[in-house]
Subunit: 212 residues, 2 copies
DNA sequence: GCAAAAGTGTTTGAGGTACACCCATGC
DNA sequence: GCATGGGTGTACCTCAAACACTTTTGC
């Protein structure tokens, strides 16, 4: 038992993991294996350890529950409404990260009964205030999109411009003009041609690019 | 005494209050009246109550320590390095707010030995990681500046375009082109002339504007 | 009349948007 | 030769930046 002179809240970290699957923006959720909200889908996360940095805790909880190793985490927001968890006062610091397509194999563990990818357009009922967290995470992602580097994080090291354009379209949920897109990406000088090409079907092969 | 099965961190909220004084961006600080870091200047804030929303706590602590009633608060970031407070693990959720010039009277109370405005260019030594919090708050403020509405929050209900321009210059710490500034502000259609003018010295009177 | 701040337009360059056709390949 | 996705250029518009003089007032 740990005792304090004043009541202390619990603090958790949650990680919203985005990827692109089947041409759609998708998010990693776990099925809760214990009360409260047992059986509901939720954003992976959990209680921080007392000597652990917030970001480290976020990374650890994600690994434990889903076996996913996160890359760069960005802090999204601290959610702290007093009634957001029925057990006790729980403040959660939410993070956002991006997983490359193709590295999306997951394995539920810890107190997660299951783990799965859901397209953002077809979310299940979510535990706690996690619907609101996802909405804010998606807004954050959209806002970051004109960095150009953000969409690249969804793709493997080498990619074609068509794939990058498809990533933008998946994230925005809206079509993008091909020529303007290519012009803008090449003008930013953040990607470079590898010099190799990829042949993949009955059509002209595509140049491959990598991040600079 | 309050006991928990697992150790819990303490959670505080801090509020970075910006205003403009003497034509310079200034921030409200308190002199700590108790250990640790007694005598050091710090961002006003303190421990949340267990049933209190984060934003409510931020507003309350600011009021208790400085007698300032905050308007709109924006969440900045959650700072949670395990070693940031020597007493115990303390996670702080930092907020930013803006106080109108002219409403900047303050009165130190609670565990603040003193409260005072400091120009951002001449900060004292600060307690904990508060220097870093201020740096991030200033970045945040700069990023918000092209909303046009942000600079208005530093001014009284009615203001002249020259005053608004001076506010931008104070926040940015750099001069702004008068004609381009006026054009941009009027084009955004976020302010309107009150129809009145202010005479104030041996020169042409200025039109007054208000936020729409 | 003079000091002091308010007010006013035009030119230029950069970047975003809209838009249609040819190219290289596999079958 | 045809289907499929890869690759390309131009005209227009909007917006930001640079830049100097006239107007209105108090004294």
């Amino acid at each position: 038992m740990y005792s304090y002179q004043y009541p202390h809240p619990a603090v958790t970290t949650d990680v919203v993991v985005f990827t692109i699957r089947d041409g759609e923006l998708a998010v990693l959720l776990i099925e809760r294996g214990c009360e409260p909200e047992c059986g509901r889908w939720a954003i992976p996360g959990g209680f921080i350890e007392i000597d652990e940095d917030l970001e480290t805790a976020a990374r650890r909880e994600l690994r434990e529950e889903t076996s996913v190793e996160a890359g760069e985490l960005e802090q999204l927001y601290a959610f702290g409404r007093p009634d957001r968890d029925p057990r006790e006062r729980v403040i959660t610091v939410a993070y956002v990260t991006i997983l490359r397509a193709g590295q999306t194999s997951i394995r539920a563990a810890s107190d997660a009964a299951d783990a799965a990818w859901f397209p953002m357009r077809k979310l299940p009922q979510l535990a706690f205030d996690h619907r609101k967290i996802l909405a804010m995470a998606q807004d954050h992602l959209h806002a970051r999109l004109d960095d150009c580097t953000t969409a690249i994080r969804f793709l493997p090291d080498e990619f074609t411009l068509s794939e990058l354009k498809a990533a933008h379209e998946a994230i925005l949920g809206a079509p993008v003009d091909k020529r303007n897109f290519r012009k803008r990406m090449l003008a930013r000088d953040l990607i470079e041609a590898t010099g190799t090409i990829r042949r993949g079907g009955a059509h002209r092969p595509a140049r491959l690019y990598r991040a600079k």
